[in-house]
Every structure is written in C-alpha cells, then in structure tokens.
Amino acid sequence: MAVNFGGVAMKNPVNTASGTFGFGWQFADLMDVSALGAITTKGCAATPWPGNPAPRMTEVRGGMMNSVGLQNPGVEGFAAEAGPWLKELADTGTRVICQVAGHSTEEYVRALELFVELCPWASGFEINVSCPNLAAGGVACGSTPEGAAEVMRACRAVTERPLFVKMAPVRVPEIARVLEAEGANGLTLINSISGMAIDVETRRSKISRPTGGLSGPLCHPIAVRMVWEAARAVSIPICGVGGIMTGEDAAEFILAGATCVSVGMANLIEPDAATRILSELEAWARRQGVSDITELVGALEC
C-alpha cells in the first residue's frame, strides 16, 4: 500500500486533513495514529492567531461549516507543544506534514522558515493558500493564479524539502499548473468550500462570520471532480480531500488520480475513522487484485 507523495514516502495512502486532526496528539489515546501513512497538522503561522469569535460552527445537510479562522499558537508554540510527540510519531514511520499559514507572502515565508528550523522531523510542509490575505481585503492569496504563484515562488526559495499546496476549490486546473511550474512537490485538494448558512428568524449568519468553510460528504463529488481535473493538468502527485467517510470514498479519489487521500470531518465524528478507512481501502485494493496501490492511481476508465 506504499506510495510516494512528492518525496514523502508513505507506508499507505491515508493522511489526515489539516484542521481536523489537531496536532495529532489529541488522537493519541483514541486510535493507533502510527498505522497511518501520514498526518497533516493544523495550519500554524509565524505568530499566534486567535481565530474568530464564537459561534464557529454550524451543521448543514450533509456536512458542517466552520469559521475557526485558523486559530493557532504560532509555529514556536506548535513546536513546543507538539514537537516531541510528533517526532516520536515520525520515528514509527508515519510521516508528519506541517501546514503553513500566513496573511501575506511575507508571513508564509516567515512561518515556513520557522517550521524548517524547528521541525526537523517533518517530512514536508503544506502551504494553505486559502488564508485570507489581509492586504487584499480578506480574499484568499491562492484564489488567483497570480496570487498562488507568488506565494509558491517565495516559499520554494526557503527550502528544498517537500512543499505541498492546499488548494482552494476555485479555478483548479489553471492554478494547479501554475503551482507545478513554481516547483510545488504535490497538491492537496480541496480545502473547504465557502458557504453560508442563515438563521432566517434572527436574519443573522449562524456563525460569527457571514461565510464559512464547508466540509463533509456534501463536498465529496465536487472534490473528486477537482482532483480529476488537477490530475489531468499536472504531473506532480495529488492528495485527495473532501467528504471521505469510507474506503470507497477514498478509492474514488485514487481512481480520479490522487496518490494519497486525507480524512477530514470523519475524524471529528469517529476518532478512529482514518484507520477504519485505511482497512476498507486495503480491502478494495485486494478486490481489485493489485498489491501495489499505485497501479490504481488515475485508473478511472473513461
């Protein structure tokens, strides 16, 4: 079941989606984290971010919507809090990918520099280009090809270690091409989809911001389509994310062209969802008669 995700050798294709797996240690007593191919930690910035006021979450049909706002203790806080545990995890062979947040190209670079310095046990870094760009009025840096390219170029200059980009679900093929050209080692998609939920009696948003990010099964067919589009546009590997609740959901991503997959919202409902999904994925690969799962990457017939 081993795969190589842009230079990160994973023992199996199951990863966790940033923001739904804490810094990993939260799951230490709830599941066998070391059974996973990799985990991706919650996005951290150069300095701590407080995140948004409550309420930060509401349920929607087929999923949930959050406006956590990337609350994080900063890279230094992260490394102090979680570093020793993550190093131990990395020693078991489960790869650790650390997500990088920032409000501007400079902030991404600063955060990545700190990560590179403080997290030698990390196998790679994932740049979350969906953070609001404060200078541009809160629009995500990665929502245009130009913005995404700028961030990627600057980050590439920081390190030769594997760099991935967590893409927003917008203009996928064109932005994917630009990121590949700027040297990304792989792409993770999709980030949550921007949505809105209104309490029609109070006439107010159900969360503290007008819009939030949608996660869960409702995202799944959209995410699979975007992974397929990206896989046809670039040759760097892709990590498929969005509404994975079962091994079959994960298998769809692999057939559409993803080298690995990340489990998101499912972790929050059922803490050991990712290991269950891994065994279901293994069972599927057996049914498909392959021992090397990479044979199934992009194996959709159409």
């Binding site: 923001g19 739904t20 797996f21 804490g22 240690w25 939260q26 799951f27 230490a28 007593d29 709830l30 919650k42 407080p50 995140g51 948004n52 006021p53 409550a54 309420p55 930060r56 979450m57 509401t58 349920e59 049909r61 087929g62 999923g63 949930m64 959050n66 956590v68 609350q71 809090e81 979680a82 020793p84 545990w85 869960g216 099964p217 919202m265 972790n267 929050l268 409902i269 059922e270 803490p271 050991d272």
Partner: protein, 268 residues
Amino acid sequence: MPTPSPARVHEFTVVTNKAVGENIFSLTIKAPRLAAMLHPGQFMNLQVPGNAMSLLRIPLSYAAADPEAGTVELWYAVVGEGTQRLSEMRPHATSSILGPGGHGWSVPEDANACPRALLVGGGIGIPPIVCLARALSERGISFDVCLGATTASKLVGAAEIEALSGCGELHLCTDDGSLGSRAFCTDPAALLLSGKRYAYVATCGPSPMMQKVAEASERAGVYCEASLERMMSCGFGACATCAVETSDGMKGACMAGPVFDASKVVSW
C-alpha cells in the same frame, strides 16, 4: 504535550428515555466503563442514529451516574432535529457516545474547604447543577440553590435537589409565575450573595443569566464557576470550533471547559 482528552468511544444501550417536563426528557443509558469515569460537570458527545444528513454528535451534560449499575442519566431538551430523533430512541436501542469530555466543576474537597456553596441553574442548564449538588451532598457540603425556567412544566430537578442532605434554601423562579416566584433566578441569587457567605458559586444556564451570577459573585468576592455551551464538533480537542474567549486567551470549551472560572470569561 498537553494532556489528551479522557474521552473514549463507548457503545451504549438505552435503558429508559421518558419525558420529565415539557419537551424535556430524561435518558438513562447503560455504558459501564463511561459511568465509572465521570466527574460532575463533564459532558459527552452522543451519536443519534437515523439521519445520515446530520452527522455530528450531540454534546450533553449528565445529571447522574451510577457506577454500580453502569448507567448514566442525561436530561435533554428537544430543540431541533437531533434531539427530536434522540427522543424517539426506545429502550434497548444502541448507539455510541464519546466521553467523558473536558473539565467539570472543581467540586470542593469538604465542608472545611467550603462550608456553603450557591448553585444557580436555569432551563436545560439544570442537569449539571443537579449532578454537582449530589456531589456536594456526598461530601457533606451545605448549599443553597436557585433554579429558574420559563414556566413550571420546564423546571426540572427541584425534587432531586430538595431530597439531598445539605440542601438549604431552594428558590424556584419562573418567568410566568406558574411555579415559585415570578422572577429570574438571578434575583434570589443576588440577594443570597449579598446576604450570606459562600465559598463557591456554580452556575449553568443561558449566558446572560450566568453573566449576572458571575458579576454578583465577583461583587461578593466569591469564586464562581460557569458551565458554558459552544457549538462543538469533536468534543476532544481536535477541531477548535468550540472556542471561548478568556482573559488567558482562546480556550476550547471541550478541553479547558465546559466549566470555566467565571471571572476569566471575556465573551459569554
């Protein structure tokens, strides 16, 4: 690394699930390992089967636990789709519950540490107050209690509390005067706080109510704890959706709470 949540996924079986007030139900579940782990004020995150469109668990406090019988009693109000479905679960039905979650009340050691406590509960905030009252009673600590609800049929827990040794004054208030006085339970609470000496105040209920109790406690110089509600997704520290703004920064209600030092709560 901080301490991970003590929460585990437990299978449970419904023992009873019956109305105890208007739209308020008492659910007793059999979940022996869980029943033996609980501390008053903790919560658990219950999976209600049956609607694949509504995926998250429902966070609920508990009113009582019986480690011998292996049972836990939860009281809940039917306020939406999930609690409606929960009210339709029948004895012998099974599902899973994740708990215990978070930090409960800092139940004072004994009557020396706390000669007298004041408990203030409103609406469906009463269950963890009942649970705390029982714990105080067992430790020989005396307490006064103010309970409030919109109307008599929605005021639960008074009988359970009255039956406990150590229970002193018990003030019941309803918005419509259908039971006890027509008042907010913060009114008798403020009076008691200005008149008697307490070592500990605990409150759970609507935010404005808890905020008033916190202010009155502060004026009286008494340590006050409040059990806060937030929209929770995981219940074990993984998602940061349950944030509470405190003077020590943003804290997760499911790990640092749901019970907080009321003087530190910035945003109710």
